[in-house]
């Protein structure tokens, strides 16, 4: 645990002291997701229509693309990873520390945007009772789904970053991967017979999505842990 804390401390310091360009994307996301979209959708934003739901699930993906590539491929590009793996710290602590901080930051940004969005919508509604996301159960499920998609993107990002020579290459591959994944999900959903989708309740659909994400997360995280080995990194 102490090794994990050390790497998380390092990642947080490194993240906070990044260049100005590192803050442009989060700032842009906060502006769009926390202010512009809630102002556009107004009550529909709070009532969790389909569009806000898709945005909530997609934003962590966008953030992760930028940050996980920097944490893995960037560190190799800057030649700091070699010195780190020459120390006593374990491969697992290095990888999990990086993933936890990146996921925490990106998911934290999503939660912050949602809370800010709620405040913005309430301010536009004038005096009256304070409104929050409804139904609350769906909002909480969305938060869990958002966390799982962030972890999925982070684990996939680790695998891509390990095979990429530069941060830019990693980011490009991840963006391409996101587009392909989006098309695959859309294709699968479109191909499902209407009788199947009609026979499922919303709760059942959400449960299936949760299960699929948990399984994918577990597989990709395991694959990342297997791939992130000193002997491979030193040759990479």
């Amino acid at each position: 645990m102490s090794d994990l804390r050390t790497i998380m401390w390092k990642e947080w310091k490194d993240l906070r002291s990044g260049t100005r360009s590192n803050f442009i994307l989060p700032l842009w996301i906060v502006t769009i997701m926390g202010i512009v979209l809630p102002l556009t959708f107004k009550l529909r934003w709070i009532n969790l229509d389909a569009a806000p739901i898709l945005i909530i699930l997609y934003v962590p993906f966008m953030l992760i693309t930028s940050f996980i590539g920097d944490a893995i491929a960037g560190e190799r590009e800057r030649h700091t990873l070699e010195t780190l793996i020459a120390s006593r710290i374990s491969d697992r602590a290095i990888l999990l520390g990086k993933v936890l901080v990146t996921v925490g930051f990106c998911w934290g940004m999503t939660v912050f945007c949602l809370l800010l969005g709620a405040v913005v919508v309430n301010l536009t509604q004038g005096p009256g009772p304070w409104l929050f996301y409804a139904p609350l159960n769906l909002f909480l499920v969305l938060l869990v789904l958002s966390l799982l998609t962030t972890l999925l993107a982070a684990s996939a990002g680790v695998l891509i970053s390990l095979k990429s020579a530069t941060v830019r290459q990693a980011a490009q591959t991840m963006i391409l991967g996101e587009i392909v994944l989006g098309l695959v999900v859309y294709g699968v959903v479109s191909l499902l017979p209407a009788s199947v989708t009609a026979s499922l309740t919303t709760s059942q659909i959400v449960l299936i999505i949760l299960l699929v994400l948990v399984v994918l997360d577990a597989i990709l995280l395991w694959a990342s842990l297997v791939s992130f080995r000193r002997s491979r990194l030193v040759l990479g």
Binding site: D14, G18, R78, H79, A86, S87, I89, R230, S231
Partner: protein
């Protein structure tokens, strides 16, 4: 502590068909600065990777600080420091945080880390710049900080991979001075890769020369001079000519002689004496004003070894 800090037996590491390290057997005693010399691509960096247990040998074995590099690599890395090919500093973090990170990695308590940061940065005249982001520093300052980081947790052994590569002579001399003072003060064993021969001659009490993954020779620089190289002598005077040169070239103790303006440069065998040569010059009409013994540099020795290997 074991008698030999590093002991390798027939150590080999191949990448496909290329043997990066080939049958390497060395012993590095405790408390010395060991220089590992070789041209680019000779296998020096791979050797450090093998000794740190970052790579597994394809054949042979190595023990570092008494631990097997295959099965006890964690123990080796816990007890050693490393400055590899690149400084490996986090340029977006301050100097203080860079050192503190490695203190945390080696589980040093907070107050001890603080004291150690102050001690090392003060010693290296970097204390006033401790809050600076390292990315703003000169290359020499970064490399000094990287040496401090390698020594931060008081390891008994440190690995340095070409610590002054690409430095100008002034920066290299400054780093040598800091390195010598730190190493002496901390009493560590140093395994240093270099192709800077002046650096090896200045800092190392033992050197190994590697070429194409194979160890060419190993020993104390002085011993290597006497076994492999001859003496270098320079005679300054007047009226030196081709006739004198031919007579000198015929002498058995003269391995090589070169005539320059008012100057004769000799390379003599290990037992060669200068007196008879001076007599010969004077008898042949030359006038001798000054005699200088310059000795064989490690560079000459290194080039001679590389030449022998090429043959």
């Amino acid at each position: 502590m074991p008698e030999s800090t590093i002991h390798t037996e027939h150590l080999c590491r191949s990448f496909g068909r290329i043997a990066a390290v080939d049958d390497l057997s060395i012993d590095v005693p405790s408390g010395i600065v060991f220089g590992f010399l070789g041209p680019n691509g000779a296998g020096k960096t791979t050797t450090i990777h093998l000794l740190l247990g970052l790579l597994e040998p394809t054949q042979g074995q190595a023990r570092v600080l008494g631990f097997d590099t295959r099965s006890q690599a964690d123990e080796i890395r816990a007890r050693s420091g490393a400055l590899l090919e690149f400084s490996g500093l986090y340029e977006r973090m301050s100097a203080e945080d860079n050192l503190d990170l490695y203190g945390r990695i080696y589980r040093m308590p907070g107050p001890e880390r603080k004291a150690r940061v102050k001690e090392l940065l003060t010693h290296l005249d970097l204390w006033d710049r401790r809050k600076d982001k390292v990315g703003k520093w000169s290359r020499g300052m970064k490399q000094k900080l990287a040496v401090a980081r390698a020594l931060f947790h008081h390891p008994p052994l440190i690995f340095l991979d070409e610590p002054t590569a690409g430095f100008d002579p002034v920066a290299a001399a400054a780093l040598h001075a800091d390195l010598t003072s730190l190493v002496t003060r901390e009493g560590v064993t140093v395994f240093m890769n270099t192709h800077n021969l002046a650096e090896a001659e200045k800092l190392c009490s033992q050197v190994g020369v590697i070429r194409n993954g194979k160890l060419v020779t190993i020993g104390n620089p002085k011993e290597l001079h006497s076994s492999k190289g001859g003496q270098k002598v320079e005679i300054i005077g007047r009226d030196f000519n081709e006739h004198i040169l031919t007579a000198l070239q015929a002498r058995p103790e003269v391995k090589r002689v070169e005539l320059q303006i008012n100057r004769l440069l000799f390379e003599l065998g290990a037992d060669g004496k200068v007196g008879p040569l001076v007599t010969l010059i004077i008898q042949s009409g030359g006038e001798v004003e000054e005699i200088r013994r310059t000795g064989t540099s490690l560079e000459d020795l290194f080039l001679a070894l590389m030449k022998e290997e090429n043959k």
